[in-house]
Symmetry: C2
Subunit: 360 residues, 2 copies
Amino acid sequence: MPVVEGKEIRASVPAKVILFGEHFVVYGKRALAAAINRRLAVQVSSREKRGYHIKIEDIPTFGLELDLEVGNDEKRKVRPYKDYGTAAKALGYVRSSIEYLEERYGIGNEGVEIEIKSEIPLSAGLGSSAATCVATIAALKAYFGVKGDVEGIRSDAHNIEKIVQGAASPIDTAISTYGGYVLVERNEVKRLHLAELDLIVGCVGSIPLSMDTTKASELGLKTKTIVEGVKNRRAIFTSIFDPIFDAADELTARAIQAMEDNDLVNVGALMNINHGLLDAIGVVPRRLSELVKIAQDLGALGAKVTGAGGLDEMGGVGSVLVLPGESGDRIKAAMAIADALVMDVKTGGEGLKITHPTSP
Amino acid sequence: MPVVEGKEIRASVPAKVILFGEHFVVYGKRALAAAINRRLAVQVSSREKRGYHIKIEDIPTFGLELDLEVGNDEKRKVRPYKDYGTAAKALGYVRSSIEYLEERYGIGNEGVEIEIKSEIPLSAGLGSSAATCVATIAALKAYFGVKGDVEGIRSDAHNIEKIVQGAASPIDTAISTYGGYVLVERNEVKRLHLAELDLIVGCVGSIPLSMDTTKASELGLKTKTIVEGVKNRRAIFTSIFDPIFDAADELTARAIQAMEDNDLVNVGALMNINHGLLDAIGVVPRRLSELVKIAQDLGALGAKVTGAGGLDEMGGVGSVLVLPGESGDRIKAAMAIADALVMDVKTGGEGLKITHPTSP
């Protein structure tokens, strides 16, 4: 497949947060997710040598750089220059994206430079994997001139997530592709138009430097382990979990209504209730609980764990969402003191953007 | 009414903890409470001077001592010797008990010495008010030779709690009177026979020396304020709260089953779920959350807020229950570091005991 020499393609996608209904969505209940204005960009350009050179940088405090050599078999050689713990996870998605495109669309082995820059903390429930897949697929398809629409990119990216993880939520790839808001209802993904929210995201342990390599690589399995824990507890306590799930389903519906009414007090109150339900099903570790309770104590309108939550026995890493009301500065200070990476975010922003940096 | 000179009566009663279902019981759901081996004793003896001399001591770090002079009208004079914040609350129950007995049974105004010794922290959800009423009524009825059975004492004490508080749970007086375990089902109180549990009780701020007098006296209204908050949130979010209440009702039933099976792992798991449901309805303040999460992180089988819970805006005071498993010593150390008053307790012990200390 011919490629114009010197051509450059840049694909940029947003991270996601789950506002309401995480975990319960696995059981067919409603969940609401939003794009946030933290983005990941994949830039693809040509290079003289054949094979792919992949460079991941700007992931807070560490990076990853390696060569993926020519060849489409099990023995394809990976030569890492730098490799720090969880960053290796991102590589898995890039590699699988390349192999998926080779197999499905026959893209070639011309010399390709892939550079990934991310503002999205890894393993924090903010959809960095899906963002990596969507942006890589979008950039490579554009670079190699593969025909298709945006929905095709979303679908390809979702397939790759399933290949790498065994199973994947359709939410993350939908948000990275389309931005805005997504409602999942009976496992169907629907795009919603809602007003922007100003939130604080707090991440704990997204860069577990203190953990040894084995432990750090196990973090890649965190979500799966947490989801299985909920499933096991539900199997024992079905008659208790079923009404909790019903409450969560109704909660997401009420939250969408409150957002449509621009009723931030009720949006916050519903975040607090949602957090309690997540605690009831066992996905709120001490460190994330501390962040949520600090925010509530300091006057936040609402606060909750977001995404998979966490487990004490896995270091309590994970992320929380805060609707700060008037107390944002004090809440951010206290969360930082409690060892969180703290970010101001706006929800509902733009999805996939493809640009040609070297175009005139 | 004649009293034997030199006669002494001592009535001792246990404190209570709510193991499962607090708050939800207000809405007709099931709750399980237990006596714990922390007791309050009221000793009644004669004195030369007419009127009542009341002495409350051994309540951790402070005491209360006063004369209640002769006379049964609004202007009865109270002369306090010492009066420290929340201890004044206990007086209200003693005074109302005396007035109730005067009115209902015509006990006299002979010189009476009333001495109260307590191991039960005040305002901690451990039933110190009910214990005060039951023990005072039992001791005075025995001292004055008022006929009646134990059920009459429970009923009198419950009436006095209602007079002082406006409304009262039947659980606390039932536990202080009968000990053991009490199930409340559709507002009916039933005694249960279950095996003993070894628990840790952690109390935060039961002695709020740092608070000014106004704030401290407001703490007496804590339970009422918390209960009203739940009622208000339920009115707004009925369709979410109703299934949560159903989950809580089922949870208490499963917990009783687990206790009958001596299945401590499931008893603990159900405590954790119950805690999450209490958080969902908004009664878990930061300081109590911290204690529960510390215990869970350190390997407790289960941990939860007990009783009314608390509110951040009221200092986050309240109590938690921990089923420690093998980690009791570490959990107690960490809870103490987090500023809790920590007690080992056994559940299900003896109820009201009446003794005659000066009998031969």
